[in-house]
């Protein structure tokens, strides 16, 4: 069985089943936005949602994560956590799944990061394909992440009265095995899936003004690196770090110690850190190796569209639009990239000051 079918009225039954299998995280509404949360009541799960405030990265790369426990005297260290619980990320959009794939590349590259690998090992991903473009900030079509491209265990597609579930791993198969209400998909279901995909092609349009190879080319030129556009972006930036905090592929961190009251035992942990912070590249001697917000914003963009492409042949922008949606200074990724694609006008680029996110 490669495709299964689940009637919508049986969804909550399945969610109850998943809740018993492992810790279940799913999107739910929080005021006018959405968040991933542990599921207490399956009725709270929200399947039609805008990208959540934070990507599910908070579960596989926690904001603050213990690395070590230590004792000062006598000198002793131990790895902080050996075991994590099995968990399921439910209804993850394809953009966020692409984000997880990016993280995999980073943390699997030697020297491997055992904390991440351990959490990844315990993760099961149930994806949810979008059929409605979310808002003007997302650029998932240009990044090619509006359609499933692997990296999940199960992928759900809403075809009206039921969901078609693509089974992509044994782990995924175990979540639907031996359930009377989940059956193999029939020809009719498959035809509907095909129709949905055709329809989607008509609605989803590329958001950037050029295809990706052109974007990469633009980022590769010395002119783009030295472009006055970065001064304009940097001028508006308030260095809050929001764009990097909400990015599914930002993984920079700081390492710090925390002492117990005894001042003899303590914990070493890592904590999210942002390349937009002014001390990010400053050394104890005082030298700052990435001075100024224009240089730091440029660095962020280059870490999405240039450096990882050179290194891993992978764009680290997944197109979720979170950085633009959350920016207090209206620095909008689509706008910046489009301006860069047009070198003649990049010099005179002035960002539009608008408007807060359109959230229903």
């Amino acid at each position: 069985m490669k495709y299964a079918s689940l009637k919508k009225e049986d969804l909550n039954k399945w969610l109850e089943h998943l809740k018993k299998k492992a810790r279940l995280y799913a999107p739910r509404k929080k005021e006018n936005l959405f968040v991933f949360r542990p599921v207490k009541n399956v009725k709270d799960v929200c399947l039609e949602y805008m990208p959540t405030i934070l990507p599910p990265k908070k579960y596989y790369f926690p904001q603050k994560e213990k690395l070590l426990k230590f004792t000062v005297n006598p000198f002793k260290t131990a790895k902080a956590i050996a075991e994590f619980e099995e968990y399921i990320l439910f209804a993850v959009h394809t953009c966020d799944i692409a984000g997880i794939q990016c993280m995999d590349v980073i943390f699997r590259e030697g020297p491997e990061d055992p904390n991440y690998l351990n959490r990844k090992e315990k993760m099961t991903i149930v994806g949810m394909e979008c059929f409605k473009p979310c808002d003007k900030y997302a650029n998932c079509v240009s990044m090619g992440n509006h359609v499933p491209r692997g990296g999940y265990d199960l992928m759900m597609v809403d075809i009206g009265k039921s969901f078609i579930i693509h089974i992509n791993s044994q782990k995924g198969e175990r979540l639907i095995a031996d359930l009377s209400y989940i059956k193999g998909a029939n020809e009719n279901d498959m035809r509907k899936l095909e129709e949905k995909r055709q329809e989607k092609k008509k609605i989803f349009k590329e958001e950037l003004n050029a295809p990706l190879p052109k974007v990469y080319e633009a980022f590769s030129s010395q002119g783009s690196f030295d472009s006055p556009l970065w001064d304009e972006v940097g001028r508006r930036c308030v260095a809050c770090g929001n764009c990097t905090a909400v990015c599914p592929t930002c993984y920079c961190f700081d390492v710090a110690d925390e002492m117990e009251l005894s001042f003899n035992e303590g914990t070493r942990f890592r904590i999210w850190n942002y390349c937009q912070m002014d001390d990010f590249a400053r050394v104890a001697g005082g030298e700052d190796f990435r001075k100024g917000r224009p240089a730091r914003q440029r660095h962020r963009y280059y870490r999405k569209f240039k450096y990882p492409v050179d290194k891993y042949n992978r764009y680290f922008c997944v197109g979720c639009g979170r950085c633009s949606r959350t920016c207090m200074a209206d620095i909008i990724l689509i706008e910046t990239v489009n301006a860069l694609l047009d070198p003649e006008n990049a010099a005179s680029y002035v960002g539009s000051v608008k408007n807060r996110p359109e959230v229903k």
């Binding site: 690998l117 090992e121 030295d226 390492v255 303590g266 850190n273 990010f280």
Partner: protein, 288 residues
């Protein structure tokens, strides 16, 4: 994609876990720099290359990247020389013989010693630059017949800031190393050169094709020294530098030490000038 079995095996150990090191010798070299000789538990050899660094940790104070200043040919221990500038280093300065600290590493790429075999060497050390270069100098002294002529150019602020004074004298006395030194500001007893280290380079007699230049010093020094070396027509890939950056993990993950697409802690800290030239503008040390 790593095999699952291998992956699970890797998960059992943590690269964040430091080894235990014991300080077996500690002395102040100048007002601000302190020398430490460290022995790892069970006298394990650090097995480093000259030019690599370790992450030194003191629990409760954190970690900092520190250059190793002894050669791998010095067995059973390794040396560090630390300037008191930050949170960790000021705490480190309070430690003495018998105290313990955490060591992770060695990390990064060291000086390309194998490529340097048979070549003449010009070693340019500005200020604290002599610290990582001492690892190379000691290695060279131990394997002296593998290299051609060796010239050491040393620059520092004032005569009292000169590090490893006795050792440098010893290298010079054995007449195997040509030595020249300059200070920014002389004191009454000083009989040597006064001026920036760049002033020493034009007078150096070399065959550029047969010469490796190794440069370590404060960030501001590089572009001027590299400029002088390029005037001497030393090929780009024979100009070797070691770059200082903020390093938090040493594993090419945390992002702090990045120059454009490169993690200095893994791809560096040692680079050659051909590599530096590839950077578009974030590398301060690149010659104009």
């Amino acid at each position: 994609m790593i095999d699952r079995e291998i992956l699970l095996e890797k998960v059992k150990t943590s690269p964040y876990k430091p080894m235990k090191g014991r300080i077996i010798k500690a002395e102040m070299l100048t007002e601000k720099e302190k020398f430490f000789r460290i022995e790892l538990e069970d006298k394990v050899n650090l097995a480093h290359e000259p030019g690599q660094f370790v992450m030194v940790s003191i629990f409760g104070y954190g970690e900092a990247p520190i250059s190793i200043c002894s050669s791998p040919t010095d067995k059973g221990y390794f040396d560090l020389t630390v300037r008191n500038v930050g949170t960790l280093t000021s705490r480190l300065h309070q430690l003495g013989e018998g105290d313990t600290l955490g060591i992770r590493g060695p990390f990064g790429k060291g000086f390309p010693i194998d490529n340097m075999f048979g070549y003449d060497l010009v070693i340019v050390a500005g200020g604290l630059g002599i610290v990582p270069l001492r690892s190379l100098m000691r290695y060279i002294m131990h394997n002296r017949n593998d290299f051609g002529n060796v010239q050491l150019l040393l620059g520092c602020k004032s005569p009292k800031d000169l590090l490893f004074r006795e050792e440098v004298k010893e290298w010079k006395r054995r007449a195997e190393v040509k030595f020249n030194c300059t200070v920014d500001k002389a004191d009454p007893d000083w009989q040597g050169n006064v001026g920036l280290i760049t002033t020493l380079i034009p007078g150096v007699d070399i065959n550029p094709m047969r010469t490796y230049a190794v440069v370590v010093g404060p960030p501001i020094m590089y572009k001027f020294v590299i400029g002088e070396l390029l005037n001497k027509i030393i090929p780009d890939h024979q100009i070797i530098v070691s770059l200082e950056r903020r390093m938090k993990c040493g594993l090419g993950k945390c992002g702090h030490c990045q120059i454009e697409g490169k993690y200095v802690c893994q791809s560096g800290p040692v680079f050659n000038y051909a590599q530096l030239k590839d950077f578009k503008g974030e590398c301060h040390e690149k010659a104009a």
